[in-house]
């Protein structure tokens, strides 16, 4: 079908931009003599991949939310809360699997609360999730007694281990988890009725409602999915730190949102892709990694990433206006 091939081509082009950006970032650091050797080593690549897991999981859920025209500023607080709950549970003797599930469900609960407030109170998602950002962080500190929760080592801690235990895995289990979920979410967005409704919501909510889509139910579902991914991300954070730290990931929601936007997501809704978001995550991870290798202070990274966000959105705007 000519048309379907054209649709596929369009999708490929949409991701081409971010992909070129990624190649560009890697190329820059790969060409700098001081770091070239260390940067391109398999070890380093795997390290970058592992470091990306937490933002990547958050970005998977955030992609749904942003495509549907919403936003979630509470993502990072949510994941901190989930990591605290997981640590608390393991510490209290709960079997590790149950603790992990509890952590994920906590994230889901916060996401559900976001969705319910947005639809019931008819408030702008920015405001609702801004408030939830504070609430979730506060609750996390409360539960943790304002300190880090130590937890005995279990297999959960191996999820983010850089050298995985069954060596044939090649990468930390956390990375594989991201890959699996990325495929699943991409398929859902492209091939299911729900996925189409997510795009419709973001593109024109009034039209979606007119066509009989239960927009409130869909929104609650979307925010809950976002929350569940934050919960999973929190579990990974706990795995990485081996403690439940309520002060972790402050400001990380901006990284998560930036990844989705760099990957082609529009804050107006109706656009975005899982592949694009993952590329966005990698761009930022490689950037941070390269900057650290160069010995540049943290603030350089922040400036560069901030600049990249502006450039990415500007380029996207230009691509849109040329097309129309």
């Amino acid at each position: 079908m000519n048309g379907q091939r054209r649709g596929n081509l369009q999708r490929a082009l949409n991701v081409l931009g971010p992909f070129i950006g990624l190649v560009f970032v890697i190329a820059i650091f790969a060409l700098i003599p001081e770091v070239r050797g260390r940067f391109m080593r398999a070890e380093n690549i795997m390290s970058v991949a592992t470091q990306s897991v937490i933002v990547a999981l958050g970005a998977l859920g955030m992609t749904f939310i942003i495509i549907s025209g919403g936003i979630d500023l509470s993502a990072a607080s949510n994941l901190a809360l989930a990591s605290v709950i997981t640590a608390y549970a393991i510490n209290a003797g709960v079997p590790p699997l149950a603790a992990v599930i509890l952590g994920v469900l906590t994230g889901g609960a916060v996401g559900f609360a976001n969705g319910a407030l947005v639809t019931r109170l008819r408030l702008v998602p920015f405001i609702v999730t801004l408030g939830m950002m504070g609430i979730a962080r506060g609750v996390a500190k409360w539960i943790a007694g304002n300190q880090k929760i130590d937890a005995p080592m279990t297999w959960v801690n191996d999820l983010m281990a850089r050298t995985p235990h069954p060596a044939w895995l090649l990468m930390a289990p956390g990375v594989w988890i991201v890959i699996v979920f990325a495929v699943v979410t991409a398929v859902v967005l492209r091939f299911t009725v729900f996925g189409r409704h997510v795009f419709a919501l973001g593109s024109n909510e009034a039209t979606a409602r007119l066509c009989g889509i239960r927009t409130n139910r869909a929104k609650i579902f979307i925010y809950t999915i976002g929350g569940l991914f934050c919960g999973l991300s929190g579990v990974m954070e706990f795995s990485r730190l081996t403690v439940g730290d309520p002060t972790v990931a402050v400001g990380l929601e901006l990284d998560i949102i930036a990844a989705v936007v760099i990957g082609g997501g529009s804050l107006n809704g109706g656009e975005g892709s899982i592949l694009g978001s993952m590329i966005g995550v990698l761009i930022m991870s490689f950037l941070r990694n390269g900057c650290t290798m160069m010995g540049w202070p943290n603030y350089i990274q922040e400036i560069i990433i901030g600049a990249i966000i502006i450039v990415a959105v500007t380029l996207d705007r230009m691509r849109h206006s040329r097309a129309s």
């Binding site: 649709g7 009725v193 189409r196 795009f199 593109s203 007119l210 009989g212 889509i213 109706g270 097309a323």
Partner: protein
């Protein structure tokens, strides 16, 4: 063409609806036959949109009954209406721009097995539906945002068809369409009739309505004041029903004299214009600008007003060459622009009538740098009376006014800022007959007072009826300028569509 069948597909009986003290609908009885195109006419505020809201299920009537195919029809909401086969196609199209044609058409009714989309089945259905209205050239995979307005409308119609709608309500369908698209729309309507679909057609373009409708119903002040077959009914009779009195002057002429050249565009080219334009406008002249949608007229006006940057050429006012201007400067120089995009650009909808009228000039009310609210309210109250704007007062939000009254507020702003050169872009689009005539009268008065008016319009009868000279644009360039008497509908249309002025 088969005659519409006798049994009514829709019957509304004694439907009434009041909003507070206002009786929006007063015991309206209305019948729609199967396979007919029925025009619903009436001034703004006559009750047409209330009646359609009740029909679609968005609003519940206070009293009265409705029947579809003889069975009672009591919709709990718009979805119920859809399910009974009633589809509304509004002027502001209800489409999701990022989704493809196929996705929009199937939105909410996707064919799936357990959540997984069945693309092949949907594709087949969509292609068949597009072919049934003779529009197979619209590809199902194009994002709707990239389509022309005419094509978008086809997508909405196809969506209604696939919803198995028997009753289609079209609200001002041709106001944003090119002539070509309008012709194709009428063809679609004819094929809809052949498929036994009935159309309620709402439009202010009475000549169009005469051409496409089988029957008509006129609403006035919430009542059904007359209905019948379109054939054999003259426009004057319809207008008389709409207005309630004899209405002979659709285009009131105010005698005025043309003075010397006031403004001239010398090879003016803006960044948004595709070719330079030279045009001269005299004091006391109404210069019409005709052309198809997209011919470059709006771009020219915006360049003159300083909204788009000037690339080359210049603007000369009273012999003085004007520097590259901004709207701020142009307003000070006496220019006023009535934007084509009334709701988006021309008015600040959430603000009040007073705010909108005085937005471009606060100086009469400034005292020591602060605005005297009382004085402003009084002055705007004056304007409301002078221009017969139907509003509760200067403080009413413009959002809640009807289209015609909103346009009067926008025009009032130009008059309030004492503009000497008025750039009007589609000033009467979507406005009822009576308000149109009022606006023509003011334009005439303005010309009599020595102002210069540039009148961009796609509605040829009004250009021929009101203007002194008419310029025609085609694909971004000026084709010809002649006295209005030297043009007729055919030569204007030919110049606008082909770019060559045929002999009148």
């Amino acid at each position: 063409m088969s005659a519409p069948s006798a049994s009514p597909v829709l019957r509304m009986e004694q439907v009434s609806k009041a909003y507070g003290a206002t009786r929006a609908l007063d015991g309206v009885t209305f019948e729609l036959r199967r396979g007919e195109v029925h025009a619903l006419l009436g001034e703004n505020g006559a009750g047409k949109s209330t009646m359609m809201k009740i029909l679609s299920g968005a609003v519940a009537p206070d009293s009265g009954r409705m029947f579809i195919d003889g069975r009672p029809y009591v919709p709990a909401g718009p979805l119920a209406g859809l399910r009974r086969g009633v589809s509304m196609i509004y002027q502001e199209l209800n489409l999701a721009p990022h989704l493809t044609v196929e996705e929009n058409i199937m939105l909410g009714r996707e064919v799936h097995s357990g959540g997984w989309l069945d693309r092949r089945t949907m594709r087949g259905g969509v292609c068949n539906a597009l072919a049934s209205v003779d529009h197979s050239e619209i590809s199902p995979d194009v994002p709707v945002g990239k389509l022309s307005v005419g094509a978008k409308q086809v997508v909405e119609i196809v969506r209604a068809l696939m919803n198995r709608s028997r009753i289609l309500v079209m609200d001002e369908p041709t106001s944003s369409l090119t002539l070509e698209d309008s012709v194709r729309l009428f063809e679609i309507i004819r094929s809809l009739k052949a498929q036994d679909v009935s159309v309620i057609y709402i439009s202010h373009f009475l000549e169009e309505v005469q051409e496409v409708a089988d029957s008509y119903t006129v609403l006035r002040d919430g009542k059904n004041v007359g209905s019948g077959a379109m054939e054999g009914t003259g426009l004057e009779d319809i207008i008389q029903l709409m207005v309630g009195q004899k209405f002979t002057e659709m285009f009131p002429r105010v005698p005025h004299e043309r003075g010397g050249v006031f403004v001239s565009l010398n090879e003016l080219k803006g960044t948004a214009m595709s070719s330079p334009v030279s045009l001269a406008l005299a004091k006391g002249e109404i210069l019409g600008v005709a052309g198809l949608v997209g011919a470059g007229r709006t771009e020219m006006l915006r360049t003159v007003f300083g909204l788009d940057a000037v690339e080359s050429g210049c603007l000369v006012v009273s012999g003085v060459e004007m520097a590259k201007g901004t709207p701020w400067a142009r307003i000070r120089q006496g220019f006023g622009l009535l934007s084509e995009d009334r709701q988006g650009e021309g008015l600040a909808l959430p603000l009040s009538v007073a705010d909108n009228v005085t937005l471009s000039d606060f100086s009469p009310y400034l005292r020591f740098g602060l605005i005297s609210v009382a004085r402003r309210q009084a002055a705007v109250g004056d304007w409301i009376g002078r221009m017969k704007i139907r509003a509760q007062g200067p403080a009413q939000k413009v959002l809640s006014l009807s289209g015609g009254n909103q346009q009067k507020v926008a025009l009032a702003r130009l008059l309030h800022q004492k503009a000497e050169v008025l750039l009007l872009d589609e000033p009467t689009r979507g406005i009822d007959v009576v308000s149109k005539a009022q606006i023509y009268e003011w334009i005439g008065e303005l010309a009599r007072g020595g102002k210069a008016v540039l009148f961009v319009s796609s509605y040829l009868p009004e250009l021929l009826g009101v203007c002194d000279r008419i310029a025609v644009f085609h694909r971004g360039g000026l084709v010809d300028v002649r006295e209005a008497s030297a043009w007729n509908a055919q030569s204007l249309m030919s110049a606008a569509t082909v770019g060559r002025a045929a002999e009148a």
